[in-house]
């Protein structure tokens, strides 16, 4: 068995003295889809943001592809990496945000090529070719020259997924990708994510879509109050939860 793609041990994080992550353990194997569920404020987004170092965790071990995130171990000490090194690590971890965060001043095509050109150093032609291929994959081939403000929420989120995929990520993080969408647009985004899961991408998804978790996820982690209350196979824990908290959470969202 190879090393897991993501390995988290005893990760803690506080903001101004309030502890939001109180020692979290988590494993994600290669090619697996993991869903993080839980009430708002439970720390699931914070955990996700620690994985690509958008937030710095205070203590604990956090490895992606067997490399420490944001730090380097030398002589038994953790050294913070320079901005440039952290950026290199991050470029291989794709992130999709709740509010899409497409670059408003760039066209759809430019949104998908800017990272390839400026971070990976690809030339314009190669970057455009890959971008067109990915936009076709998410069903937005004919929107290349549009600006984000001219697209629907679902279309914007699909562009955001294509933008992240353009960096050839080994891991994709989704932070409530359908929470800001009108109900009728949720399906098109979930469809793209399912397709991605089938292609063997390793994914961690913070979500309130229990149907998606049940259908696609290999494992589900339920966070509450900064700790993992319960985890396991979605078909098991979502139908027969053992903890009281997960029972009451599921009764509210289902």
């Amino acid at each position: 068995m190879s090393e897991p793609m993501v390995k988290i041990r005893g990760v803690r994080k506080s903001y101004n003295g309030i502890e939001v992550l109180k020692g979290v353990d988590l494993n994600v194997d290669r090619g697996e889809v993991t869903c993080l569920i839980g009430p708002s404020g439970s720390g699931k987004s914070t955990l996700l943001r620690c994985i690509n170092h958008l937030e710095k965790h205070d203590s604990g071990e956090l490895r992606v592809d067997n490399e420490l995130v944001g730090y380097e171990m030398r002589n038994g000490r953790l050294y913070e990496l320079t901005d440039k090194r952290v950026c290199e690590n991050r470029s291989r971890i794709g992130m999709v945000f709740q509010r899409f965060n497409l670059f408003q001043h760039l066209t759809v095509l430019e949104n998908v090529t800017v990272g390839q050109r400026k971070v990976l150093g690809k030339n314009r032609e190669d970057a455009s070719e890959k971008a067109r291929e990915l936009l076709a994959r998410v069903g937005l081939k004919e929107k290349v020259t549009s600006y984000p403000s001219q697209l629907s929420g679902g279309q914007q989120q699909r562009v955001a997924i294509a933008r992240a995929l353009a960096m050839d990520p080994k891991l994709m993080l989704f932070d409530e990708p359908t929470s800001a969408l009108d109900p009728e647009l949720v399906g098109e985004v979930l469809e793209v994510m399912k397709d991605l899961a089938r292609s063997g991408m390793t994914m961690i998804v913070v979500t309130h879509e229990m149907g998606f978790a049940r259908e696609v996820a290999n494992s589900v982690y339920f966070l509450d109050g900064g700790v993992i209350e319960e985890s396991g196979d979605p078909r098991v824990i979502l139908s027969t939860p053992s903890s009281e908290r997960l029972k009451s959470f599921l009764s509210k969202v289902l």
């Binding site: 290199e88 945000f97 965060n101 990272g115 971070v119 600006y147 001219q150």
Partner: protein
């Protein structure tokens, strides 16, 4: 569609009588302005002719604002040289101000306390003293620093050395002074622009692996420009007029040229009009430039860009035409 039998029912717009009275009043005022500006009035000077042996005298008819003298001086080389100096000072001061302003704004937002405190202090100092005082100070800079050396203090290490009194003209000193002062104002404008960009944009750039510098250059600044341009346009126009202060330290700018001329010929009002018209003309050109610059940086922010003045004029003219065609009432159509 509203129908009454076969005929389409017409909607008659409300008559705004109050507005019409307002228009009439404003029209009257406008007529008075035009009259006083452009119609001749009797002057104190008497003109006499001999008509069939008798001497007839009457008051000479003149423009109140002596437009003939305005026209006479409008393109004189002294005025045009002054105008060039004014434009030079504006351009140099604004370029310096914008570069300094962005640098100081970025420093101010740095997580490093030393950098942010220095930036704050700069703004505090240059915004807190009158620009005229700063200009006077810069014009006497040669007295304080006859020789300027850049190096490491206490260690006698020198990088650059030059003689201030011989190599820095008073006009250059003024341009630097105005630019440093402008930097303080521009830094606040740039900072407003930078903090107006949504945090999510920066996070997205970061998650793609962009460095802080790349994020600033590729994502934050292009989007901040939308917020930065209108007040910067304001600053450019304000700077154009602030440069007139340099006449205090003996630089002959546009206003300086005008005052020089009228101190000899006493045609004070016409020469002030000459200067004002030139300031207005340059301001107009700058405003047009600002409009197109704003349009350029609004890409993506608006679903449809605002029409250019030419497009708007065309639409207005077409609109007036259609108004006349349906003057008796607007047709209600499906």
């Amino acid at each position: 569609m509203t129908t009454n039998g076969d005929a389409t029912v017409k909607v008659v717009p409300v008559r705004h009588y109050g507005r019409w009275v307002g228009v009439a009043l404003v029209g009257l005022l406008l007529a008075m302005v035009v009259h006083t500006l452009f119609f001749k009035v009797a002057s104190a000077k008497m003109v006499c002719h001999v008509v069939s042996g008798a001497r007839v005298c009457h008051h000479a008819m003149v423009f109140r604002y002596q437009w003939n003298i305005v026209g006479q001086y409008f393109f004189t080389s002294e005025i045009l040289h002054g105008l060039l100096r004014t434009i030079f000072l504006t351009v140099v001061a604004m370029v310096l101000g914008i570069v300094l302003g962005v640098t100081i704004a970025v420093m101010r937002m740095s997580p490093n306390r030393v950098l942010s405190s220095i930036a704050w202090t700069y703004t505090w100092f240059f915004r807190g003293t009158p620009v005229l005082v700063q200009l006077l100070f810069w014009s006497f800079i040669g007295a304080v620093y006859p020789h300027l050396t850049l190096g490491i203090p206490f260690l006698h290490v020198t990088f650059v050395h030059f003689n201030v009194n011989t190599s820095l003209t008073i006009m250059e000193a003024c341009a630097i002074g105005l630019g440093l002062n402008e930097g303080a104002y521009m830094s606040e404008i740039a900072r407003a622009g930078l903090i107006s960009v949504d945090e999510g944009q920066i996070e997205a750039a970061t998650s793609l692996g962009m460095t802080r510098r790349q994020t600033l250059r590729l994502v934050t600044i292009p989007q901040a420009m939308r917020v930065i341009i209108p007040p910067t346009g304001n600053e450019v126009i304000s700077m154009l007029k602030t440069t007139s202060l340099v006449s205090v330290v003996g630089v002959i700018d546009l206003l300086g040229a005008a005052t020089n001329i009228y101190s000899e010929n006493y045609e004070i009002i016409p020469l002030l009009i000459v200067a004002s018209l030139w300031y207005l003309l340059v301001t107009t050109v700058l405003s047009i430039g600002q409009f197109y610059l704003e349009r350029r940086f609004a890409r993506g922010a608006l679903r449809t860009p605002p029409p250019t003045p030419i497009q708007r004029l065309r639409a207005d003219l077409l609109g007036v035409g259609s108004k006349f065609r349906t003057r008796r009432g607007l047709e209600v159509s499906p």
